[in-house]
């Protein structure tokens, strides 16, 4: 019935019921929906109007069609329709040749391939056809043709190989087979990848087939994902993730595991669009990163999805020690600057800022894999012993020459004996021009590096001409003088560069060659002897240790695995399956794919073959869908009947629908807008810690210098403070260049203090203590360079040795929460006594009180100066003399308070003290430096 459609029915007889549909038509036509009664008083006025649209006497056609459709759905559903019910038919009569791709790329859907091949073989068995199977991975010289049973056995014996198959090798056996069997039909179960000579194989197969029917079974999209090009950078362990084409597997996870198979970390990757390459970056600590032995794509069971990691991918930790004093202010002059810049991209550098011996100890404790000693001279004996042990156990010490090394004696941590003193070329006492480097010997690890022409050596350390000197020489000057020598000691290596690490002896550190050479040296750190020998040119082969099978699992090396030469490319082939080779301690990794490999989809179009999918879709029972469609139709019918009878207002539903659509649209827009780039977003809301806007008071205070007093809450005291500071301000503007503005009263809990240079704080007993905020702000103010004058105003009442006055107690409580520096009575040589006037006391309304200030250091270079000052300004001055009362003047300049004992001289001195305090707070230790001006002028005069 439906030959052209993959549709079948489980109960086709039910379809006969469709004949009853016309009867249903007649039945449905005559039952229109019931109209609705509406009471409408003005009807009398409109009775004569003939309605334009007449009452539908019959069911409208569309409703009829809907109902017939529903009935049709129900009948169809009862007949049990099944989509994809048909089976693929096998064609042809001659022998069947099955070519099965069994490279790593086929491992991912291997069971599907085997199932497809098996169903083909079974079909051939039903037809009594002979079957031959040829795998492209491991090519047998002859392709046996046998019955289907033997072919099934051979099929089950096929396993994917872990390397990229060489399909071209299979062409010759195929040709022999096809020459023999002229009527053979060819079915190729292809992995769809170009790797392994895909294009050439397609061409060859097309030529061989020569008109025979060919069927290619292949997945609709090449499924495999692969890893290649592991790179250990500063950011992390990165790798390329490859695929042949966009296949819907856009994201995934890379898992790293160590040598024992324990997972160490995971990193996601995502292909952008239809890109065939993505990057994954494992950001792990270096120690952990160096433990990584294997990377997998999670859920991908092929050898290509495994990347093995060996020593060459380790990120090494290198310690830098310099003999010179480390001057961080001038990095270009640091002896290790060029080494650090050259090695930074390839290794993790550690450069402790301490003395050389200490630094070496620290680095040895940190188990660095390489130690760079730039111009290190004599070391303590125990440290020499530790360094020797370190080298014996596999450490690499790279030394650079220098004056200290040249002067050192008994230094045995050098590869060659050194002649004391160096050789200078092109200097004042030498007629020679700077020497350039000779081309590298084949045995040198630097072999192959190109020599820049402009490298010149002006000074160097000379080696004693021993017998084994040429063997130890890695690089030499054009005149044959060794410039880089090395010696293997135990497991480790000592390398000496006979010039300095900076540019004083040569311009070698400025050249690109320096970077390349250092990188090669770093690659030697921690490598095994064999590899080192291989690196030095000798052909070394290592045997397989553990290898991968086609599914990416470790196994013992197969019998066919042969040792691999370390000098060649380390890419898996049939003879060298991927895996670890060499010694168990430092194995060499051989990977399925090379670092720069790419994957591509194989175009089998030139074959002219019938292309069929590998996996046929499963049969689909259409019954539930038809029943659901019928139910939906019923719902529509109910709505239509309601609408026809006027019980459903179209207008309102329309409006609701419009509203709903608008809401959905807005929600969609909102969700679209959400991941918009940050640049398009509104500026972020002010952070919680952001400062509030400045008040006008703070603005005023910041625009003009003015003094502040703390509002005590006692009106008379506050008024005295204000008048006092105002008096001092006017005195200052008369006598000095300073012209302060009106003083401001502040509340430390609320106001910003940092805009005032000097704050006067009269202590009033019995007032509540300032709160936590006020104390914290005051502390910040004092730490930020401000000066606070605490005035207890109790010089009249306090007696030395007597109980503290209430004001003193209040002051102690205030200062309990503040880091108060050590205090002392103002010494005679303090700079505050010379800041403007030369004075020795700070009287206020009273004269008996002691004035305290931050204690100055007693020792130090300026202890003997006539004026001493600390680094900054004393944050605190404590007095009891009631300064403000002495300074307080009325509007006409008259003093407001009498002084004790009294006299104009005392008031003048009080003002002068205030001037000095103000100058001290504003200028700091400037006056202390001014003291030296005569001496400086005197020196300049000479």
């Amino acid at each position: 019935m439906f030959e052209f459609l993959p549709l079948g029915f489980s109960a086709p007889a039910v379809l006969l019921a469709a004949a009853a549909l016309p009867a249903l038509w007649l039945l449905l036509r005559v039952t229109p929906p019931q109209p609705r009664r509406i009471d409408f008083p003005p009807l009398r006025l409109i009775l004569d109007l003939v309605p334009q649209q007449q009452t539908p006497a019959r069911t409208p056609w569309w409703l009829l069609a809907l109902r017939l459709l529903i009935a049709g759905f129900v009948i169809l559903a009862m007949a049990g329709p099944i989509w994809n019910a048909g089976k693929p038919g096998a064609a042809g009569a001659g022998p069947l040749l099955l070519i099965v791709d069994d490279g790593w790329a086929a491992a991912g859907d291997w069971t599907d391939r085997v199932a497809a091949a098996e169903s083909l073989i079974r079909g051939a068995a039903r037809d009594g056809r002979a079957v031959a199977i040829a795998g492209t991975g491991e090519v047998a010289p002859e392709i046996p043709l046998g019955d289907a049973g033997a072919a099934l056995d051979r099929l089950r014996a096929l396993v994917p190989v872990p390397h990229t198959p060489d399909r071209l090798a299979a062409v010759l056996p195929l040709q022999r087979f096809l020459d023999r069997e002229k009527t053979a039909e060819i079915v190729w179960v292809s992995d769809g990848m170009t790797a392994g000579g895909g294009a050439g194989f397609v061409a060859a197969l097309g030529r061989l087939a020569a008109g025979r029917p060919i069927t290619v079974l292949t997945a609709t999209a090449a499924r495999p994902l692969a890893l290649a090009g592991v790179e250990n950078s500063a950011a992390g362990l990165g790798t390329r993730v490859l695929r042949a084409e966009a296949n819907g597997r856009d994201t995934g996870v890379i898992r790293a595991s160590d040598r024992r198979g324990l997972p160490l970390g995971e990193a996601p990757f995502a292909f952008a669009g239809s890109a065939t390459e993505a990057r994954a970056l494992l950001t792990l600590p270096v120690d952990l990163r160096n433990e990584i032995a294997r990377l997998d794509i999670v859920g991908e069971r092929t050898a290509g999805a495994v990347a093995l990691v060996d020593e060459s991918n380790r990120r090494r930790r290198i310690g830098l020690v310099s003999g010179g004093t480390a001057d961080t202010a001038q990095p270009l002059l640091s002896p290790t600057y060029y080494v650090a810049r050259a090695l930074g991209p390839y290794a993790d550098l550690r450069e402790p800022r301490m003395g050389p011996a200490e630094a070496i100890r620290v680095l040895l404790d940190e188990r660095v894999s390489m130690l760079v000693l730039a111009d290190i001279g004599t070391l303590p004996a125990d440290l020499r012993q530790r360094l020797a042990t370190y080298v014996d156990e596999g450490g690499l010490v790279l030394r650079f020459a220098g004056n200290r090394l040249a002067a050192a004696t008994n230094d045995d941590l050098v590869p060659v004996r050194l002649r004391r003193g160096g050789r200078a070329l092109g200097g004042a006492l030498s007629w020679d021009t700077p020497r350039t480097l000779a081309p590298f010997e084949r045995s040198s690890p630097f072999f192959g590096l190109t020599l820049p022409k402009d490298v010149g050596i002006t000074r160097q350390l000379l080696a004693e001409p021993d017998l084994d000197l040429p063997r130890k020489t890695w690089a030499a000057l054009a005149d044959g003088t060794p410039i880089i020598t090395a010696e293997r000691r135990g497991q480790g290596l000592v390398v000496l560069v006979h010039v300095t690490a900076d540019t004083t002896w040569s311009n070698l550190p400025l050249s690109g060659l320096f970077v390349d050479m250092l990188r090669r040296v770093v690659n030697l750190a921690g490598v095994s002897d064999g590899q080192a020998r291989a690196a030095s040119g000798a052909p070394v082969s290592v045997a397989a240790l553990r290898t991968l099978d086609g599914f990416g699992a470790f196994r013992s090396p197969p019998a066919t695995a042969r040792p691999i030469a370390l000098t060649g490319s380390l890419i898996a082939t049939q003879d060298h399956p991927p895996g670890f080779y060499g010694s168990p301690d430092a194995p060499v990794a051989v990977n399925t794919l090379s670092g720069d490999a790419t994957l591509a989809r194989l175009d089998s179009g030139p074959l002219g073959a019938r292309i069929e999918p590998l996996v046929r879709p499963a049969p689909l029972d259409l019954r539930p869908w038809l029943i659901a469609a019928a139910l939906f139709g019923f719902a529509l019918d109910t709505l239509a009947v309601l609408w026809l009878s006027g019980r459903l207002t179209m207008r309102r539903t329309r409006r609701t629908a419009a509203t709903a659509a608008a809401v959905v649209l807005l929600a969609g827009l909102g969700s679209l807008q959400q991941p918009s780039p940050a640049g398009a977003q509104t500026p972020p809301a002010p952070a919680a810690g952001q400062r509030p806007a400045m008040s006008p008071k703070e603005t005023d205070a910041a625009l003009a210098t003015r003094f502040a007093y703390v509002l005590s809450g006692d009106t008379s005291v506050d008024e005295t403070s204000r008048a006092g500071l105002a008096g001092l301000s006017s005195f200052l503007s008369v006598r000095t260049a300073l012209d302060p503005a009106e003083p401001a009263g502040v509340d430390p809990a609320r106001d910003e203090l940092s805009v005032y240079p000097l704050i006067y704080w009269p202590i009033v007993a019995g007032r509540p203590l300032p709160g936590e905020t006020a104390i914290r702000r005051l502390d910040d103010f004092m730490k930020g360079g401000g000066t606070v004058i605490f005035d207890t105003r109790d010089a009249m009442t306090s007696r030395p040795g007597a109980a503290p006055t209430p004001e003193t107690q209040a002051l102690r409580q205030i200062l309990a929460g503040i880091a108060v520096p050590q205090l002392e009575p103002i010494p005679r040589d303090h700079v505050i006594t010379k800041a403007f006037y030369l004075i020795d006391t700070f009287p206020g309304r009273y004269t008996e009180g002691q004035t305290w200030i931050e204690a100055l250091p007693r020792e130090g270079p300026d202890a003997e100066r006539p004026a001493r000052a600390g680094d900054g300004v004393s944050p605190i001055i404590i007095t009891g003399n009631d300064l403000a009362a002495a300074w307080a003047t009325g509007r006409r300049g008259e003093p407001l308070y009498p002084l004790v004992p009294g006299g104009p001289r005392q008031r003048e001195l009080a003002f002068r003290g205030g001037v000095n305090i103000a100058m001290y707070a504003l200028t700091g230790n400037y006056k202390a430096d001014q003291v030296h001006v005569p001496a400086l002028l005197e020196r300049l005069g000479q």
Partner: protein, 309 residues
């Protein structure tokens, strides 16, 4: 779609809820507004100046004393200015009579879900509240065909009793002729043919009485918000009309109703009457305020033009 409800005759009957509603509404109406209007319009309602000398409180004019009059009429203060004697005349002031007619026919007992109240409720509350307002303002109010003009303080109860006792509500006001200087207030849905209504208005105003028509409508009657297949039914005659799609019918219905209203407005304008539409989805106070204002304006107008004189 709006649902409609038809009230039966017991529901349509006048009850205490109408009286209470009317009293409540009349009390709620801001009295100050009315006072202000009265001051502004000289005589909105209550005592209306007749622009001629007569019984009243306000000064009208001085005229010379004619002998034979009682000497007590002489205004001595004015007469002392010269040698003649003057008499102070006051303006003749008299109360108005307002005739009211409230439609309580079957078509008034109708409410849709869009409305706040049935039409009949709205008409009764509006009419009774207006009566109370007018009486408090000093007018006399009567119901056409049911009562005589009354100035009782319990006018609402009196009218309500009379309305409740009337068992044969008619579609149209009685065909009587009102005396000049009276005013008529017809509150109805005016669903009779416009020619009938115009004839009654002409009859009522044959001797110069003025009036106001308030057409109370359900919002459904003005917008016809129906869709789909329907049978339209009339409440009084029992006629039905079957429409296939009420939505498609709407425009023609609305046009017809608009024409009906235009005819009514024409009939009113021809006799100097006012015409207003009150929809039951609007607050009743709106209608009352507007009606009171129109009555006040008319009183002023008639006094100024002197047509009532």
């Amino acid at each position: 779609m709006a649902k409609t409800r038809v009230l039966d005759s017991t529901e349509r009957a006048v009850g205490t809820r109408h009286a209470n509603g009317a009293l409540d509404l009349a009390r709620r109406l801001p009295r100050l507004t009315i006072e202000a209007r009265r001051i502004a319009a000289t005589a909105a309602h209550g005592i209306h100046g007749r622009r001629q000398a007569g019984q009243g409180e306000s000064f009208w004019q001085f005229r010379t004393f004619t002998s034979g009059e009682p000497a007590s009429r002489i205004d001595w203060r004015r007469s002392a200015r010269d040698d003649r004697h003057y008499v102070r005349e006051r303006e003749w002031e008299a109360a108005h009579t307002v005739w009211m007619w409230i439609d309580r026919s079957a078509s008034m007992g109708y409410a849709s879900t869009l409305a706040q109240a049935p039409k009949v409720d709205r008409a009764l509350v509006l009419g009774l509240a207006l009566a109370d307002l007018l009486v408090r303002g000093g007018e006399r109010v009567g119901h056409l065909g049911l009562t005589t003009p009354l100035a009782s303080r319990s006018i609402v109860d009196r009218l309500a009793e009379a309305l409740a006792a009337d068992r044969l509500p008619l579609d149209l006001p009685p065909a009587v002729t009102l005396a000049p200087m009276t005013e008529a207030v017809l509150i109805s849905d005016c669903l009779s043919p416009p020619a009938d209504i115009a004839a009654r208005i002409n009859g009522l105003s044959a001797r110069g009485a003025r009036g106001h028509v308030v057409m109370v409508l359900d919002p459904v009657e003005e917008t016809f918000p129906f869709e789909g297949q329907a049978v339209l039914a009339e409440l009084e005659g029992g006629e039905t009309l079957r429409v296939g799609d009420a939505g498609a019918f709407r425009e023609r219905v609305l046009a017809r109703l608009e024409a009906h209203r235009a005819a009514l407005r024409e009939a009113c304008a021809g006799r100097g009457w006012t015409f207003a539409v009150h929809r039951t989805d609007r607050p009743v106070s709106d209608a009352l305020l507007a009606l009171a204002a129109r009555i006040a304006d008319r009183g002023d107008l008639s006094a100024r033009t002197g047509t009532g004189g």
